[in-house]
Amino acid sequence: MRRNVWLPAFVILGFVFLYAPILSLIVFSFNESKLVTVWGGFSTKWYGELLRNPQILSAAWISLKVAVTSATLATVLGTLAAFVLTRFGPFKGRALLTGMSAAPLVMPDVITGLSLLLLFVAMEQLIGWPAGRGMTTIIIAHTTFCMAYVTVVAQSRFASLDESLEEAAMDLGARPARVFFDVTVPVIAPALVAGWLLSFTLSLDDLVVASFVTGPGASTLPMVIFSKVRLGVSPDINALATIIIAIVAVGVGIATWQMRRGARKNGG
């Protein structure tokens, strides 16, 4: 039974490895001292400082708008893609659609960002839209890769959905569109909420793709942080990072909970 001694040790080691950096960041965000590595007593002053920094506030506002919009768009499009992929049987181009919708999952961010940038430039020259780069292009870019995640989550939910539910609705007089909104969507809603939250946090996190497709005046929060850190880490960045971690953690937590709940209630 030696394993029982070692197992907890390894688990602890793993957790330390994963979370020690984050923990130290959170701890130092409450540091009184201006020096990032020296503890000078507890204080929340850097959080106050953040609220008085217009650059950070506007970046946070942009990030939030981008995340909400692209998560919503990605959820709608991803759900439709998943619906088509699971329900329409074999059709021409199905394999292509499957591959394409999953591609952004494995594509390196640099390539996604670069190719989207090239696309936007070409489109502007050809049809004059999107005019210049900025928030719109970031939203489009984020929607593209978030949609892939939503598609995967929704697809597995659709596949496990009892089709007789939809047949029952149709049998009771509902046309296919009605069935979709009355039965299909509510039943898979937990998966959709999870997909939305996942997209939201992915968009909030993204630095690389956004840097490629952004334009003047549209800096997202990760971009501002990154540029500030290059000039040296300041404690207010710790505070900001802590807030972001909290938001992401809550998002992922709710997403996981929703998925579990959905699986339990609908019998998987």
């Binding site: 009892d162 007789s164 539910l165 047949e167 029952a168 609705a169 149709m170 049998d171 009771l172 007089g173 509902a174 046309r175 009605r178 009355d182 039965v183 509510p186 039943v187 809603a189 209630k265 609908n266």
Partner: protein, 379 residues
Amino acid sequence: MNTPVPVATSKPWITGAEPPFIRISKVTKRFGDFYAVDDVSLDIYKGELFCLLGGSGCGKSTLLRMLAGFETPTEGRIEIDGQDMAGKAPYERPTNMMFQSYALFPHMTVEKNVAYGLYRDGMKKAEAMEKVAEMLRLVQLTPFASRKPHQLSGGQRQRVALARSLVKRPKLLLLDEPLGALDKKLREETQFELIKIQESLGVTFIVVTHDQEEAMTLASRIGVMNAGQIVQVGEPPEIYEHPNSRFVADFIGSVNMFEGRVTEDEPDYIRLGVADLGGSIYVGHGVSCVLDQQLWYAVRPEKIRISRTRPDKTENVFRAVVDEIAYMGNISIHRLKLPTGRLLSATKANLTRHDDEAITWGDEVWVTWDDTAGAVLTR
């Protein structure tokens, strides 16, 4: 037991007094090159409680789903109430279906589940609620109106599903193994409830089941299916006492089946030589057959009488030894071994609580049956 009689007491399938309500003609359903339903023709009359009975995978659900509109026949034609159903979507058909899995909407309360179909017809809320309340009263679920399906027991869910499919008063209600998930006692109760509901609403029911007792209890008529085909259609006693094939005889109830050859063929009787019995079976009615034709003889266990003393007759009397007795409470099933080694089963009603004289293991007995007790089968 006092069986409530289904609505269709007039038996239009015999009298031909009215045209069939559902007309299934030469319907075939292929999946690839597999025949799930194979050239089925069937007429069902208004107010019937028709049971489709058959083993697993014989195409019962597929036939039902074609009536509901979830599958399109590869060939053939389905008419309901004189209307051709070809090209009609499920939401355009005068049918409702109760699913094997119940298919209750998990995110809606019992009340909303039942009301769903009424709202789809554009019914006003007040009127719909009135109908829902009435329906819930009928299936005794009024106290559970605001619960979600996952807060109900299996039997309650089944009743919600029934209420939901009945509330629109469809011309035809299709039930796919409606009582499959219930335990025996609840099942029996619900069977009688089903018949009562069917009687009071006058809706035509088609019930799919693979439980032959259930079919016997419920049906006005039974259609026995095998490998995509309808093998026999008839009223329960007809199916039980006059099966038209070895498959039906074997599938419904238990039976002793003998293979024999015609040794005497007269207008008012025939005689079958049966090697298994080491003798012959005398059949007390004429059968259209020829000498030396191979036939089968099916006799049900309850038609066989066992006694210690030799019965006072000459035909269909055989010696046997009691091999085993299975006590079932109301009856006992005796397994008897003939001198040829062939086993025979016979049931005996347990008329008294204790019988010192009862036949037991190892007893030498006489077995016999009436010359009209069995069915002669040609296939």
